[in-house]
């Protein structure tokens, strides 16, 4: 499974992500500068966390216009995997690949913590290694992680089962419907505020996030193709 991790000016989780895909999972991984326009033969494209363009104007607003985003959109439209974590999730919403937006945390504070996250469905490559309703402990680190969508959009998200992860117990940022991560209707584009890559190495204190990457890998091996056949 070939992995491409897009590096924007201000990305700071790109190497953590590469550690997981390249070192832990032993998959070919390429860091792609945001000015490039070709993602090569990538099966999985990851938009990592950080503060692209200093979060100026709005989180992810300027990154959306980076040259590489044309290729990311085409990759997504071709049904291939796209994962956006934290700032990457914000970029996916700004780019229109996922609905809604991420707003300032309800309490206005930047939160760096471990939170409980519930898996809502397991019929996706992302979650096939988890159980439905399984509670994961994942790190979060964000100031603008409060997911918001207009009521009709939210209703549609629920109807199409696009909510993949919800906060369990405490809602750290005020997200509507406790949403921590959503996918597009086809399920190949996933955006989430918690950081699975920071919970994938036992040396860092937890491995609850590793299942997400292992799930993709298992799905990839089984289908020998990166396209989802849902």
């Amino acid at each position: 499974m070939k992995c491409a991790i897009v590096v924007f000016p201000g990305s700071n989780c790109d190497r953590d992500m590469a550690w997981v895909t390249e070192q832990i999972l032993q998959q070919p991984t390429r860091l792609v500068w945001h000015g490039e326009t070709d993602l090569g033969e990538a099966d999985l494209v990851i938009l990592p966390g950080g503060f692209s363009y200093g979060d100026y104007l709005r989180c992810g607003a300027l990154a959306r216009f980076s040259p590489v985003m044309g290729a990311v959109v085409r990759h997504a439209q071709a049904g291939k995997w796209v994962l956006g974590v934290c700032n990457g999730f914000q970029i996916l919403t700004e780019a229109g690949l996922l609905p809604g937006t991420l707003m300032r945390n309800r309490e206005l504070r930047f939160i760096c913590d471990q939170v409980a996250v519930r898996v809502e469905r397991r019929d996706l490559a992302w979650t096939c290694q988890y159980d439905v309703n399984q509670i994961l402990t994942l790190p979060i680190a964000h100031g603008e992680g409060c997911y918001y969508a207009e009521p009709p959009v939210l209703q549609e998200l629920e109807q199409r089962r696009q909510v993949v992860f919800r906060y369990h117990g405490t809602n750290p940022n005020g997200s509507v419907a406790e949403i921590a991560g959503i996918c597009n209707p086809q399920g190949n584009v996933l955006g989430m505020m918690p950081h699975p890559e920071r919970a994938s190495d036992a040396d860092l204190g937890g491995t609850d996030g590793l299942g997400l990457f292992q799930g993709l890998l298992a799905w990839y091996a089984e289908n020998a193709c990166c396209r989802l056949s849902l």
């Binding site: 709005r58 607003a61 937006t101 707003m103 300032r104 309490e107 207009e150 005020g174």
Partner: protein, 93 residues
């Protein structure tokens, strides 16, 4: 005779105000409302916080400048999911 230099396009100056839609909770505005009320400004009812952007641009005429600023607001400067905007436009120097 050397050709006449092209006439420079007129400059316009836009002042853009971006605020959260009324239907969207503004946590920063709410915090300031409470802060002001605690400072004995009990009459303060609601505070909304937004962004102010000023920019200059050249365009052939005011209508074109207006249309360009409108499009910038819709496509780049605001997130239509949560934000709304208004702007003023005047001939600059």
């Amino acid at each position: 005779m050397p050709p006449e230099p092209p006439t420079p396009l007129p400059v316009y100056r836009a002042e853009i105000y971006i605020t959260l839609k009324p239907s969207v909770l503004d946590p920063a505005g709410t915090a300031i409302t409470k802060g002001l009320q605690q400072q004995q400004y009990e009459g303060v009812q609601q505070v909304r916080i937004g962004k102010y952007i000023e920019l200059t641009l050249t365009a052939t005429d005011p209508a074109t400048a207006h249309a360009q600023v409108e499009r910038m607001c819709q496509e780049v400067l605001t997130n239509p999911v949560i934000e709304t905007y208004r702007f003023t436009l005047e001939a600059g120097r």
